[in-house]
């Protein structure tokens, strides 16, 4: 089933917490260069799925294949990050005592080992990269501010900037527009589309307007498994999806 173009393949992944099945034989395929929106009610398993992909949670059964043949379930978070999978959390988590600049510096792709960072000096190349990202995320004027002093939206952007700095192949973005103004939401959608030109993206989101604005393939999760998949119009017409979201 694995084709040349598949980037990520979840194969029958099951996760249980104390008898509760957070993921139930979940299977999902993501193509190279694709952007995918994942929606679903609370407890559908969206975040757990992200946890499994990024190595935070180990599934009870099932495989997660990245690229050609890398099984992610055997790797830990830093190894998976090094493979080129970046993750943005639901609640923005930036390093608050550090400046915006330093946050990006830490995120820049490069040697992560202590023996390097202990003696590392900032190179001209790194400087240009950071400046470029700052421009992209519209924080050039705030480079020297403490990240902790930024507004909520700015933190979200900084975090996306940090993801970019990692130069990942695949971005996992958890509710990127929660708490944003309409204008910011629109800018974020634009930013994600821009990112998608060179990388694959998985967006978990509640905001249907935003998902619609992205205009990408949608996967609906329910009780840890895929309920429906297709365009936003297709899934919103699916009676099962309607029932899950509206009915009881």
């Amino acid at each position: 089933m694995t084709t040349r173009d598949t980037l990520l393949y979840l194969d029958g992944v099951t996760v249980t917490f104390d008898g509760f099945r957070a993921l139930n034989a979940l299977s999902l395929v993501l193509e190279q260069g694709e952007m995918r929106a994942v929606i679903g009610p609370n407890g559908a398993g969206k975040t757990t799925m992200m946890d499994v992909i990024t190595g935070r949670t180990r599934p009870d059964t099932g495989r997660v294949v990245f690229g050609r043949d890398t099984d992610l379930t055997r790797l830990d978070e830093p190894a998976i990050a090094a493979l080129g999978i970046g993750r943005k959390f639901q609640k923005p988590t930036v390093f608050e005592p550090h400046t915006v600049w330093d946050n990006l510096l830490l995120a820049l792709a490069g040697d992560r080992r202590p023996r390097f960072t202990l003696w590392a000096r900032q190179s001209a190349e790194e400087r240009t990269r950071i400046e470029a990202i700052l421009a992209t995320i519209r924080l050039a004027d705030h480079a020297r501010r403490r990240a902790g002093d930024l507004s909520h939206g700015q933190k979200q952007w900084l975090e996306i900037g940090m993801l970019l700095a990692q130069e990942p192949q695949l971005l996992l973005v958890d509710e990127p527009v929660a708490g944003m103004t309409d204008a910011e939401t629109e800018q974020t959608a634009e930013l994600l589309r821009e990112i998608n030109r060179s990388r694959s993206v998985v967006v978990v989101e509640h905001d249907m307007a935003f998902v619609r604005a992205l205009g990408v393939r949608v996967t609906v999760l329910h009780e840890g498994a895929v309920l429906s998949e297709g365009s936003i119009d297709h899934v919103s017409a699916d009676p099962r999806v309607v029932e899950v979201y509206l009915g009881r």
């Binding site: 917490f17 104390d18 757990t48 946890d51 935070r56």
Partner: protein, 522 residues
């Protein structure tokens, strides 16, 4: 041996001694040797005053005046030792002092004198005393007693005492001695083994039978030792459980690192001391129940202090576990010093009530009562805690608050109040543990310090937030510790356990019974 010879002599001469006017009662005013001989003489003299006088001597009620006249103190009255008639001694009185040799003589004498009491319990005690102080001189008495005895338990003990007395003498015929060895071997405990082992120098066949008896007892004891070890382990485990169960609430359920937990235990122990003093002063009739009265009071005292600590200190530090650790450590220093200023630095004397002292013998296993009661108490405390957490509205609210504080608040639960109560409950349980610990450990300001590290290890090893885990963990640690101790020594055993625990926690940071789920993976 001297004692023996004297006794034999006395036995032979007793009719003369009694008649000679050589008054043994008067000798009780002499030195230790005089007293000892006098007791021996009195016990076989047939003197009617022998029993009350020796009993008084045993209880410290026999007094001597400056003119060497002897008196028995009975309440406020003074009785003349010789006549038993009330009188008034001239001059100040001093109690007659004893040493261990005298005490042994008294024990044997009381055995002799009460062997024919109408009360089977007293006869049993007498038989026990005679077994403990075997004396061939008592053989005729024993024979008479055996002939009359009808209660099976007393009879068996009398036979054992008889056997012991036969073996203690030098002139019993060999078949008698062999029969006696069989009786003792059947008794099968360390005391019997002790008596048999002393026969090494006897004629070959006796010595051989005795050696075989010793070996048989040793074999049986080895098996019993296993059971005994388990009892020790459970008993240590129950102490650990008591010390840790309060922490299982404050740390396990609430996540508060309370370094002053040990001081809550210490406060409970001091409450016991105060209660005992108060009961002793005002309600002497209830003295034996002092410990029981202290249990609820210790719960209230430590619980109240706990609530105060939560409101005044910890509530400002939620979400900052490491700061809580430091602040409560500071608090523990303050509490220790406060208790030291209040009660003094030295240990306080908390006495063990009669019903908690002593031991029962179950085969080869000695079950000490204080430990047994502590095991029962620990089980009771754990059961009560579980009941509170599971079956009461308070428990429900506690669990609601710890699982989802905001939700609980939204549902109208007064979360600060629940926090305080939960912490109070944990502290109160620690206070009750203090009551138990006052029975086996020093009541000193440092009491809590000795248990704090162990308590944390128990809770972490068992799995935070899981009372069953705490139980299993405490018992495991107790038993492992007690089985390591004879092999490795007390210190090395403890170090081993600590190192094993450190390694275990590094392999399984969430303990034996981890709570799974996303919520706890922070």
């Amino acid at each position: 041996m001297t004692l023996l010879r004297v006794l034999l002599l006395l036995l032979v001469l007793s009719p003369f001694v009694a008649r000679a006017g050589d008054d043994p009662i008067a000798d009780l005013a002499g030195n230790y040797d005089d007293i000892r001989h006098a007791v021996d003489a009195l016990s076989v003299s047939g003197n009617a005053r022998a029993e009350p006088v020796i009993a008084a001597l045993q209880n410290g009620a026999l007094m001597v005046a400056a003119d060497r006249s002897l008196w028995i103190r009975e309440g406020d009255a003074m009785l003349d030792a010789r006549s038993g008639a009330p009188g008034s001694p001239n001059g100040p009185l001093k109690p007659v002092r004893l040493n261990n040799a005298v005490r042994r003589a008294i024990e044997a004498a009381m055995g002799n004198l009460t062997l024919f009491s109408a009360d089977p319990a007293r006869r049993l005690k007498a038989a026990q005393a005679l077994f403990a102080q075997p004396d061939p001189a008592a053989l005729p008495t024993l024979d008479r007693a055996l002939a009359k005895e009808s209660v099976a338990g007393v009879r068996r003990l009398l036979q054992q005492a008889q056997a012991a007395a036969v073996l203690a003498g030098a002139d019993a015929p060999i078949p008698d001695r062999l029969a006696a060895i069989v009786v003792l071997r059947a008794r099968g405990d360390l005391a019997a083994s002790n008596l048999l082992a002393a026969l090494a120098g006897q004629p070959p066949e006796v010595a051989a039978a005795a050696a075989e008896g010793v070996a048989a007892i040793a074999r049986a004891q080895k098996i019993w030792a296993l059971a005994q070890g388990v009892f020790y382990g459970i008993s240590l485990g129950s102490v650990l459980l008591l010390a840790a169960s309060g922490l299982a609430i404050t740390f396990g359920v609430m996540g508060v690192i309370n370094m002053a937990h040990g001081e809550m235990v210490m406060l409970g122990a001091y409450t016991t001391f105060v209660v005992q003093q108060a009961v002793g002063a005002w309600l002497p009739g209830l003295a034996a129940a002092g410990v029981l009265i202290a249990i609820p009071l210790a719960f209230i005292v430590s619980g109240a202090v706990g609530i105060a600590i939560e409101r005044l200190l910890i509530s400002f530090l939620y979400g900052r576990p490491l700061e809580t650790l430091l602040a409560t450590w500071g608090l523990s220093l303050g509490l220790q010093q406060a208790v030291r200023s209040l009660f003094g630095a030295s240990n306080r004397d908390v006495s063990t009530p009669g019903w908690m002292s002593g031991a029962a013998q179950w085969g080869g296993v000695t079950i000490t009562f204080n430990r047994l009661y502590i095991i029962i108490f620990a089980a009771f405390v754990l059961a009560a805690l579980m009941a509170v957490l599971r079956a009461t509205p308070l428990g429900l609210q506690m669990r609601a608050v710890t699982q989802n504080r905001r939700m609980a608040a939204a549902m109208g639960i007064r979360t600060p109040w629940i926090d305080a109560l939960t912490f109070g409950l944990g502290s109160g349980v620690a206070g009750m543990a203090g009551v138990a610990l006052s029975q086996i450990d020093n009541v000193s300001p440092n009491l809590g310090q000795g248990y704090i590290i162990d308590s944390f290890m128990v809770v972490v090893f068992g799995g935070v937030g899981n009372l069953w885990g705490t139980l299993v963990s405490a018992l495991t640690l107790g038993i492992v510790n007690k089985f390591l101790e004879p092999v490795a020594g007390a210190v090395l055993g403890k170090i081993f356990v600590l190192v094993l625990l450190i390694l275990f926690i590094q392999r399984k940071p969430r303990g034996l019974f981890p709570l799974k789920g996303r919520a706890v993976e922070a």
